[in-house]
């Protein structure tokens, strides 16, 4: 075991694949000598050179679009958008092209590409640099979507995502980049679509992903002190997602709290809730409670931002509601 930050793990995943496979390359705004706005690709330009770690102009449309055209013609590009919020200018390429080309063309094409999207709030970056927009992409047929919560998963999911023959959207939480956690010496692939039970428990299931896994674990600790035994499921992949793991846990606990940093209304966790209400209804002993951000843009002032975003306390309160 060794310790790595989440950001380092993402870099390690990209680096390992680029060493193993020379069709893999990275491009995006300031990913080169600058090392990326959050330092995630620091040093990679030095190791791999200009052609494989390449700075683009500020043109998100063609960043994603070029990844599509490249993936369709024999290479495995990784495209970084500096902030998830900028996917607004690359949506056509991602949703109307990447996601649909294989299907529209009758299956005669594969598109091995990864689009990295640094997400989430908590750094005082305000409404246009702090969004969580999983719901836009996790519900689009043709895309796979992952969202790691820790270094080992970030590393392992990056390997798997690059190796996948379909477009994979790789969400990263900006507030996690500097957070260290343990990584095995020999990193294994983390399969897409498999959740991780972050903590076993019998009383309530908290299902979440990304940064909120940390909040959920903190909440579980608080609740443990009160004698409540919480199970925490880290989805890791939003599509495909691990229906079996979630239904099994709900069967055990009968109670579920879903957590995400998206604004609550219309968040992708509504899909999980709806699925449980459809397929696991008879195992439910209590309402399905969702915790999300308030239904507003992300405000600038830290105190306001912290009010708007969900936290461990909100999760504790949500669990208490259904005990």
């Amino acid at each position: 075991m060794k310790t790595m930050t989440y950001g380092e793990a993402i870099r390690a995943g990209m680096t390992q694949k680029m060493r193993e496979d020379d069709t893999v390359f990275l491009f995006g705004e300031d990913v080169g000598p600058f090392g990326g706005c959050f330092g995630v690709s620091a040093g990679m330009h030095g190791e791999f050179g200009e052609l494989r770690v390449r700075d683009t102009p500020i043109s998100e449309g063609v960043i994603v679009g070029a990844a599509v055209g490249a993936a369709a013609t024999g290479v495995r590009p990784i495209a970084e958008l500096m902030f998830t919020d900028f996917v607004t200018v690359g949506m056509d390429q991602l949703v109307n092209q990447a996601a649909k080309m294989r299907y529209m063309f009758g299956g005669h094409l594969k598109l091995p590409m990864v689009v990295r999207l640094p997400s989430g709030g908590g750094i005082g970056a305000a409404a246009q640099h702090s969004q969580s927009l999983e719901k836009w992409l996790a519900g689009i047929p043709g895309l796979k979507v992952v969202y790691p919560s820790n270094a080992a998963d970030a590393y392992g999911l990056m390997l798997t995502s690059i190796e996948d023959d379909n477009p994979v959207v790789f969400f990263e939480h900006k507030a996690l980049y500097g957070v260290p956690s343990e990584v095995p010496d020999e990193m294994e692939r983390v399969p897409l679509g498999k959740a991780r039970v972050a903590k076993e428990g019998t009383d309530v299931t908290i299902t979440t992903y990304g940064k909120q896994v940390l909040d959920a674990m903190a909440a579980a600790q608080t609740l443990a002190a009160e004698g409540v035994d919480v199970e925490v499921i880290d989805l890791r992949s939003l599509y495909p997602w691990d229906k079996e793991a979630v239904l099994a846990s709900v069967e055990k606990t009968g109670k579920v709290v879903l957590v995400s940093e998206e604004t609550k209304r219309g968040a992708y966790i509504a899909e999980i809730a709806a699925y449980i209400a459809e397929e696991g209804f008879y195992n439910l002993d209590a309402p399905i409670v969702r915790v999300g951000a308030l239904d507003t843009p992300v405000p600038f002032a830290p105190a306001l931002e912290q009010t708007m975003l969900p936290n461990a306390e909100d999760i504790v309160n949500a669990v208490r509601k259904i005990l």
Partner: protein, 328 residues
């Protein structure tokens, strides 16, 4: 010009094939046999033909909603194309794509596209891939005049220029985006001036002169293979039909259409070939008859084909996951 007689005969054949295919597509649509939208290329055949004649088999093209001509010129098979228009399993896309989404990756055809301007970006990606792999391939990106006002045009040409990607941007300026004439959608006459924004070569040519198109694209391809980057080529042309079948074309005059019909690229090449004794009129007639037959056979093929098994609707989304079907 470095054009062999064989090459010219091949271009004649391509143009006639496109025309025949489109006329048949028009008929079938009129009879209600092909669903959805269909955008015909009649009148613009010289562009696709001249451009693709300058390419190798493993070069790429990206196409548009008005894509049949490009696909035929790059070697697409009219049988599978027609079957796709009919929505049959034997079509290029198994009936999942239709007229606006025909593709044949094995021939470097990266797809027609229903999103105006989307091809600009995809072409840049193909060029990037070619450069990255140092494969010597190039990509021709076809697009209309009105698409040059889309966001993608700008980002694509800029990136291709600054990275010196092997992409040839071929603009088919037929004077309209649906009902909106060029002077109402942009304040320029020659779209090739936009090359200056990216410091790349830009030329305007007669898009109804297949030899001129060939020459311009040939030069641009050499430039691209030389690692000197992209070129913008504007081909002035005209569509004889409406924007899509069913369009009453209230936005243009009969006189304008008549003027352009006089400049039809097909009689023009025919005359050139006969005048220069490269082909006789009999040879051309025989060629045309054979093509008509091929296209008629394609219709028969399409009509004899069946729509795919309904269960297949959930296939082909991913390489590995098969989506849940519905039990009705």
């Amino acid at each position: 010009m470095n054009l062999s007689d064989d090459k010219m005969r091949a271009m004649m054949k391509t143009m006639l094939t496109i025309r025949a295919f489109e006329q048949e597509a028009q008929n079938q649509f009129a009879m209600g046999l092909t669903p959805g939208f269909v955008h015909l290329y009649i009148g613009e055949e010289a562009v696709a033909t001249g451009a693709c004649a300058a390419l190798k088999e493993d070069d790429f093209i990206t196409s548009t909603h008005r894509g049949h001509g490009h696909i035929i010129a790059k070697g697409g098979d009219v049988k599978y194309m027609m079957a796709e228009l009919f929505g049959e399993e034997s079509g290029y896309c198994k009936g999942k794509g239709g007229s606006m989404h025909i593709a044949d990756a094995s021939k470097g055809i990266l797809g027609a596209n229903g999103i105006v301007g989307a091809g600009h970006n995809i072409a840049v990606g193909a060029g990037l891939s070619a450069q990255y792999r140092d494969s010597g391939q190039v990509c021709v990106c076809f697009f209309g005049d009105a698409s040059t006002n889309q966001s993608t045009f700008h980002e694509a040409l800029n990136l291709a220029s600054v990275w010196k990607l092997p992409v040839i941007f071929v603009c088919e300026n037929n004077g309209y985006g649906i009902s909106v004439s060029q002077e109402r959608h942009q304040n320029i006459t020659d779209i090739s001036v936009r090359a200056q924004s990216y410091n790349i070569p830009g030329v305007t040519i007669d898009g109804n002169d297949v030899l001129a198109v060939y020459e311009a694209v040939f030069e641009a391809v050499a430039h691209a293979r030389d690692k000197k980057g992209p070129t913008l080529i504007e081909c002035k042309t005209y569509r004889h039909r409406g924007h899509f079948e069913g369009d009453a074309t209230v936005y243009r005059t009969e006189e304008e259409l008549m003027e352009w019909k006089k400049k039809d690229p097909i009689p023009r090449l025919k005359n050139f070939l006969t005048d220069n004794e490269i082909m006789s009129i009999e040879e051309i007639d025989a060629m045309e008859a054979a093509i008509k037959q091929e296209v008629e056979d394609a219709v028969v093929f399409a009509k004899e084909s069946k729509v795919a098994d309904l269960a297949s609707v959930v296939h082909d989304v991913y390489t590995d996951i098969v989506e849940e079907a519905r039990v009705r």
